[in-house]
Subunit: 201 residues, 2 copies
DNA sequence: CGGATTTTGGACTTGCAGGTCCATTTTTGC
DNA sequence: GCAAAAATGGACCTGCAAGTCCAAAATCCG
């Protein structure tokens, strides 16, 4: 069932996904027609349905996966190396920088809303992203606990959950306000709080 | 310019907004057709465009405003009386209870995504909601500072921003996971953090 | 009451975006 | 080089949902 894809085919498919993703990031999910994707990627309708037999649904799913992966990739290598306080701050910087650059254009917010309900797959993609993200944070906290930089009494899972939620909310508010104030406040206060745990221990 | 609205007209308009809001909450913005609203509210197409000359756009805007107001109303009277630690906990309980009941159905998430980009008004509604919400939290923190329950060194605005972001993210994650874990973690840890500030002071 | 205005119902129009189809060209593997 | 398979282009179809229009009923107000 794994359809045979020529090298050329593979390239075209990737070009479609990347182009659609860019278009969606720029103008929002429901403003992007299949024809826009065609124009923007230099492809024909035949190609779209050749590579995505399920039509827009399938394409959107592929785009969502692409964007989800990108979110984590953009945080590397910091996210996987939360092994010292400077490393945490570097991660903080990267996050803010990334989202400041992204501004009001959120790829996943719309995708979740659009495909979230009808496609069971979209939900899974977002859930998977959050799960991987939170796990990385948990790993970071655990590591800091192993070195004594964070008190062992701290509940790593719970703290990571709160931090992740804060980040998501911070980004959400960035979409409304256009400012990174909330995101910065969350990161600073939460990380400070983790730090304070070392003294309390 | 304020169009003349009979008592009956006023009632019909309200019925349309409330019905549309319910429908949207249940099935999502882009799954709801004007005909669904008509069927669900017992109105005709003529009525819809009579009360909302701008069509779906205007209706969605009215629904968004309706839902935004509801969000804050649902937190009263707790939100306006964050004057003691038990009061804060009561607010916490109300929030979790409310969102647990709401579950995966988020009215504003979709509305923001749908109308957010094209309608400048939708953005304003969400921004206004967040602003009022955050202000209420700031007032709570300030009051607690005036009674010495929170250290005066705490930056009320910054803390409120972080808390609000955490709540938003917690709700967002509730939409993905179906669990209130993140929301609870954020509330508990953030409020604890504010509390700790009293001792540090 | 009675004329003006608002409210209501529903048939009709319209545009458009997703999806289908097939003919043509290119690539693949032997 | 040549058949089979994959890639491409684009004309065409179709359904649907938003929006238009007007005529009939209800309501308001002097």
């Amino acid at each position: 069932m794994t359809r045979a894809l020529t090298r050329k085919g593979e390239a075209t498919r990737a070009r479609i996904v990347a182009g659609a993703a860019a278009e969606i990031r720029e103008r929002g999910v429901d403003e992007v027609r299949l024809e826009d994707v065609m124009a923007h990627t230099g492809t024909s309708k035949g190609q779209l349905f050749h590579y995505f037999p399920d039509g827009k649904e399938g394409l959107l799913l592929a785009v969502a996966q692409h964007e989800a992966d990108q979110v984590l990739l953009d945080q590397e290598p910091m996210l996987s190396n939360l092994t010292s306080w400077p490393a945490w701050l570097a991660w903080r910087e990267r996050l803010i920088e990334r989202y400041r650059a992204q501004g009001v254009k959120c790829p996943l917010n719309g995708l979740l809303g659009q495909t979230g309900r009808r496609a069971p797959g979209a939900q899974a993609i977002v859930t998977g992203l959050m799960w991987r993200w939170q796990n990385a944070i948990v790993d970071g906290i655990r590591h800091m606990q192993s070195t004594g930089d964070i008190a062992s009494e701290v509940d790593a899972d719970r703290s990571a959950a709160a931090l992740l939620a804060g980040i998501q909310g911070g980004v959400l508010l960035l979409l409304s306000t256009g400012k990174t104030d909330h995101l910065e406040a969350v990161l600073d206060l939460t990380i400070d709080s983790l730090r304070a745990g070392a003294r309390t221990a």
